[in-house]
């Protein structure tokens, strides 16, 4: 009826980030260790059950245990597990330690809002404007500082984002309402988006294509549908796409400046979101 | 009662059930307030200005009076136990009465403290500092109140004809009462003084 295998390892979605292979390998290692332990225990269990089942004339022995054996089977798992822990700590550092953060080729801000993902790109000047929670409104989700000129041209997108392939991408992640979790299965990356703090997530995609972005932390009734799409593009495609966005933004800014002499200097993210979003 | 067991060997540890239970309960209470103090430490570190500002609004002289008040009640509680142990009924009633009164005064002062805050438009929702302030002092006040019930009951009982003689029971109650004092010993500097 369907492809089914008892081997978990066949279920991974294709990995497309620089560390997805390393992570899969680590998983594989732990998997095979576990399978070995599993078999060891279950086979012993079954053998004992069969061999020492009750039957006429069979007797149990009077025995209270053995300290040497006890010591051995304390030490063995300790060594095994400690080794495993220390070994995998390296990978943990690579993924999470800010001191290990690679030099970013591109930095973006991402915030979760029930039930959408929004991203902010630096825009024409290549610099993300300053932000602070106190500036946040429903129109200015990122809390972009209205007094910072770098913030004026920032581009805000909802649902679908493009990023260049083979580049170190650093995502500054946060949320505007409740907890969300930024989950890119193909990149093997996941990080909670915590309102009130900005957390750095990095990855480096190796294969162009469209990948699904999921929300992995319960954030309300629409949690299941908080889907996004990450479009990993070649440098050239990405540059073209970016240029188009910048041009569109410029036009919006020009139109705003022309039509109003009013005091609304805060870029209206909602408008841009509507203009640029293609997500569901 | 209906058991055929002879339970003369109990309590095995030599500590009365109730007293042992009370100590276990107090250990649990320590953890309960630990949760609040942890939250306090963490939030204070990330919101220093808010906390300093909040603490400045508090009426520390009133709290100091309450501190003295609770210390007195702790002393009288200890003395009450001692008196009952040595069957000095009238002194027991005097000391326990003072303890009860101190508890009452504590709550009255707390009432004025709270209403003064409310009249200044300060509520638990005013800031994280006040959220914690009201929760911690509120739970503490509830503990004071909860302690006053058995104190009052024993006091009333001691005036009846049969009187009250189980000093070990009062000792158990005393443990609780001292603990309540102890919590205040920390609440006082932490909330009112150290900013």
């Amino acid at each position: 009826m369907f492809d089914f295998s008892w081997n978990m390892l066949t279920y991974f979605p294709p990995g497309v980030s620089t560390y997805s292979d390393a992570l899969d390998d680590l998983f594989r290692l732990v998997y095979w260790i576990s399978v070995a332990i599993f078999l060891l225990v279950q086979i012993t269990l079954v053998v004992f059950i069969v061999k020492y089942r009750t039957r006429p004339g069979h007797k149990s022995i009077y025995h209270h245990g053995n300290n040497v054996v006890e010591f051995v089977w304390t030490l063995a798992p300790t060594l095994l597990f400690a080794g495993l822990g220390l070994y995998s700590d390296e990978m943990w550092k690579v993924v999470k330690y800010s001191s290990r953060l690679p030099l970013p080729d591109i930095e973006i801000d991402v915030v979760g809002q029930a039930f959408n993902w929004h991203a902010r790109y630096p825009g024409a000047d290549g610099i993300l404007g300053k932000r602070h929670a106190r500036y946040r409104t429903a129109q200015n989700l990122f809390g972009i500082d209205p007094t910072d000129p770098h913030g004026k041209d920032d581009i805000v997108l909802t649902g679908e984002f493009n990023l260049p392939v083979n580049k170190n991408v650093v995502v500054h992640l946060s949320s505007v309402d409740v907890l969300h979790s930024y989950f890119l299965p193909n990149f093997r990356i996941k990080q909670d988006a915590v309102p009130g703090s900005w957390i750095d997530v990095w990855f480096n995609g190796t294969k162009p294509g469209k990948y699904e972005l999921a929300c992995a932390e319960l954030c309300g009734s629409g949690h299941y549908a908080m889907r996004g799409v990450l479009n990993l593009q070649s440098d050239k495609d990405f540059a073209e796409w970016m240029d188009a966005k910048i041009a569109a933004k410029k036009a919006v800014l020009a139109a705003e400046a022309a039509s109003t002499s009013s005091e609304t200097a805060v870029p209206s993210t909602a408008q841009q979101a509507a203009a640029s979003s293609t997500a569901h | 009662m209906s058991s055929a067991l002879s339970l003369a060997h109990e309590p095995v540890t030599g500590i009365r059930h109730g007293k042992l239970g009370m100590w276990i309960f107090l250990a649990s209470e320590v953890m309960f307030f630990s949760g609040f103090f942890t939250a306090f430490i963490i939030l204070r570190n990330s919101n220093l200005a808010v906390f300093a500002h909040g603490a400045a609004e508090l009426n520390w002289p009133l709290a100091a009076v309450n501190t003295v008040n609770l210390i007195v009640s702790s002393l009288t509680m200890a003395m009450a136990i001692l008196s009952l142990e040595h069957a000095n009924k009238s002194r027991f009633q005097l000391y326990l009465g003072i303890t009860f009164l101190c508890g009452l005064i504590f709550l009255i002062i707390k009432y004025f403290e709270y209403t003064a805050k409310f009249s200044h438009g300060i509520y638990p929702g005013t800031s994280s500092f006040f959220g914690l302030y009201f929760t911690m002092t509120g739970f503490h006040a509830m503990h004071v109140f909860a302690g006053m019930i058995p104190i009052g009951w024993i006091l009333a009982k001691s005036f009846t004809k049969r009187g009250y003689h189980d000093w070990e029971r009062v000792e158990i109650l005393g443990l609780y009462w001292h603990f309540v004092d102890l919590v205040w010993i920390f609440l006082f500097p932490v909330l009112y003084l150290i900013f």
Binding site: V41, F81, A82, W92, A133, A138 | L5, L20, V50
Partner: protein, 609 residues
């Protein structure tokens, strides 16, 4: 007839039942059955309420499964009865789904497993197994029970208020949980059930310390009692932290104090949380702080759920393998180690919460270390049945099943303990598989083992062995077929707590697996009817139980078949350790703790079937 029933029939002859009900006083119905202070009655009350909640929680699970397998299709039978706020055209609505998940887990954890393990078993076993008449503080014990249904109803009443029941998972993380009546009710309920847990733990500690029978040292305690003793420490020291977290959350819910809510948050409707206005200048609350406080309790809580059961399994295995526990002291120290380490690993639930990565490293290492004492226990169980004489009865089968499934659950725990793997696995069905392997496969199988094992002593009747074995076999098979595939879709990236997975392209291929799981979930639910039936039927029609049907060594079997208030009809002195099976001192294969040495063979030896 099965081997085991014969086994039970031949049983106990060491002590004959003169009069099984000691001292029947004429107490009023209310004092006897409702506000009873007798530990056995309280144990049965805990049992009844938990089994009721198990049914409710199980029904919720089946709703969940239905939705995942056949999203948008009306729930069979009950769908059309549910109000439109929960279902549309009989199919589960997204909001209702999150409520179901939350209530399923809340009920299963706080109102089924914890009350069963530390309410029913602790109450029933501790006084009997240490040879005393009752708990140290019987009235406290009664209060501890009555808080549970009150709390349960409080939490459940959320379904009848505006906005529905709590819907932010059993972990109830703010800011999501910081608004709504359902969440407030949840917090109040958890506070109450936590209080119950503290009172219970306090009582068990005092009882074990103070009320052991004459001659009983701590190292003469059966492992069930040891486990319950250590568990009580966890309850007493862990639960209050949950209570304080709940209290603070409540303050946030009611007053928007900004303890766990950061400044300037948008509400789902686009407005600002009221706290934003006040805190504005200075940062505001810390959502992660709640998680720390929550898991500081809730990780120890998973051991609250498993340790008592591990104790029960040890006792059951020793009895039915007719052999002493392999490494009794090692077992005790392993329990202690698990409990101690249990307090320093809470952060493994928070690898991705945004906490400091250094803390992540710390928690990763401590978590991996905690697998060691669990390994010791597994190996010692294997050592116990090694060269034993294993009788296959319903309790022993459940205990063996426990080992088999707990190992799977434990090993999947090791995957998640490794931070980088958890980065991918966190909040997927891999976790859900882990949860159910340790909680159902572990705790619940162990509880079944204990339930069958002590059923004779609890109710004075034997359960039906054949039905019991059927129940075990069916549950074991359906359980594995239901929950093992969850590992696979978990590795495939299937998130948990999602109402409709097929919104995602990459999850669409998993629908057949989800349907497979659902089929076996339903079958597993049906299998539980055997338990219900056996339980109720045997109450009335079961064979009267002998005093010591399993020819076990521990003190509860010295009590009359159906002990009355006061438990024992004779004086109890303990002369030896609890697991003297196959001792050369005795011609039989067992030597109870209460038999005075030198052991004299008074009666003819009983042939062992």
């Amino acid at each position: 007839m099965s081997a085991a029933s014969t086994y039970a029939e031949h049983a106990d002859t060491l002590t004959h039942d003169a009069h099984s009900h000691v001292g029947h006083h004429s107490v009023s119905f209310i004092r006897k059955y409702i506000f009873s202070t007798d530990h056995k009655t309280i144990a049965k009350q805990f049992l009844t309420s938990s089994l009721f909640f198990l049914l409710v929680g199980g029904a919720f699970a089946l709703f969940i499964r239905w939705q995942l397998a056949y999203p948008g299709e009306p729930i069979p039978i009950v769908g059309k009865w549910l109000p439109e706020t929960f279902v549309s055209n009989g199919a589960v609505q997204p909001g209702f789904y999150t409520q179901l998940v939350t209530m399923h887990a809340t009920i299963m954890i706080f109102f089924v497993i914890i009350p069963l393990a530390t309410g029913a078993f602790a109450n029933f076993c501790i006084p009997l197994m240490i040879g005393t008449d009752d708990m140290a503080m019987p009235t406290v014990n009664m209060i501890s029970f009555w808080l549970v249904p009150v709390a349960g109803l409080t939490v459940m009443s959320g379904f009848f208020v505006e906005g529905g029941a709590a819907a932010s998972g059993w972990t109830s993380y703010p800011p999501l949980s910081a608004s709504g009546t359902g969440h407030m009710l949840w917090v109040i309920g958890i506070f109450l059930v936590g209080f119950s847990s503290i009172l219970g733990g306090m009582n068990y500690l005092a009882t074990v310390l103070n009320k052991r029978a004459k001659g009983m040292r701590m190292f003469d305690l059966p492992l069930t009692v040891w486990a319950l003793f250590i568990t009580s420490i966890l309850q007493v020291l862990g639960t209050p932290v949950l209570a304080s977290a709940a209290a603070l959350l409540f303050v946030d819910q009611v007053f928007h104090a900004g303890i766990f809510i950061p400044e300037n948050l948008l509400t789902p409707t686009g407005g600002l949380y009221p706290s934003g206005a006040h805190v504005g200048a200075g940062g505001g609350g810390q959502p992660v702080l709640f998680q720390h406080l929550f898991w500081f309790y809730s990780h120890p809580a998973v051991y609250i759920m498993i340790l008592p059961v591990m104790g029960v399994v040890s006792d059951v295995l020793a009895t039915f393998a007719r052999k002493a526990i392999f490494g009794y002291k090692a077992m005790v120290f392993a329990i202690m180690a698990i409990a101690f380490l249990g307090f320093v690993v809470w952060g493994h639930h928070m690898f991705l919460s945004g906490m400091s990565p250094l803390l992540g490293t710390t928690f990763m290492l401590s978590t991996i270390v905690i697998a060691v004492p669990s390994s010791i226990k597994v190996f010692n169980w294997l050592g116990t049945i090694w060269k034993g004489n294993i009788h296959f009865t319903t309790p022993s089968l459940n205990a063996l099943g426990f080992i088999a499934t707990f190992v799977v659950g434990g090993l999947s725990g090791v995957f998640m303990a490794i931070g980088p793997i958890d980065v991918y696995i966190h909040d997927t069905y891999f976790i859900v598989a882990h949860i159910h392997y340790v909680l159902f496969g572990g705790a619940l199988f162990g509880i079944f083992a204990g339930l069958y094992y002590w059923y004779p002593k609890m109710f004075g009747k034997m359960y039906n062995e054949t039905l019991g074995k059927f129940h075990f076999a069916l549950t074991f098979i359906t359980f594995n077929l239901c929950f093992f595939p969850m590992h696979m879709i978990g590795v495939g990236g299937h998130m948990r707590r999602i109402h409709d997975p097929y919104v995602y392209e990459f999850l669409k291929p998993f629908q057949p697996i989800n349907q497979f799981i659902t089929v076996f979930a339903i079958l597993m639910g049906l299998a539980q009817l055997l338990l219900v039936f056996n339980f109720l039927w045997s109450l009335k029609y079961g064979r009267p139980a002998p005093r010591n049907p399993w020819r076990a060594n521990t003190l509860e079997w010295a009590a009359p078949a159906h002990p009355g208030h006061g438990n024992f009809d004779r004086d109890i002195t303990v002369y030896r350790a609890p697991y003297e099976y196959a001792s050369p001192e005795s011609k039989r294969d067992y030597l109870p703790q209460w038999i005075r040495p030198p052991y004299i063979e008074k009666e003819k030896t009983v042939s062992v079937s």
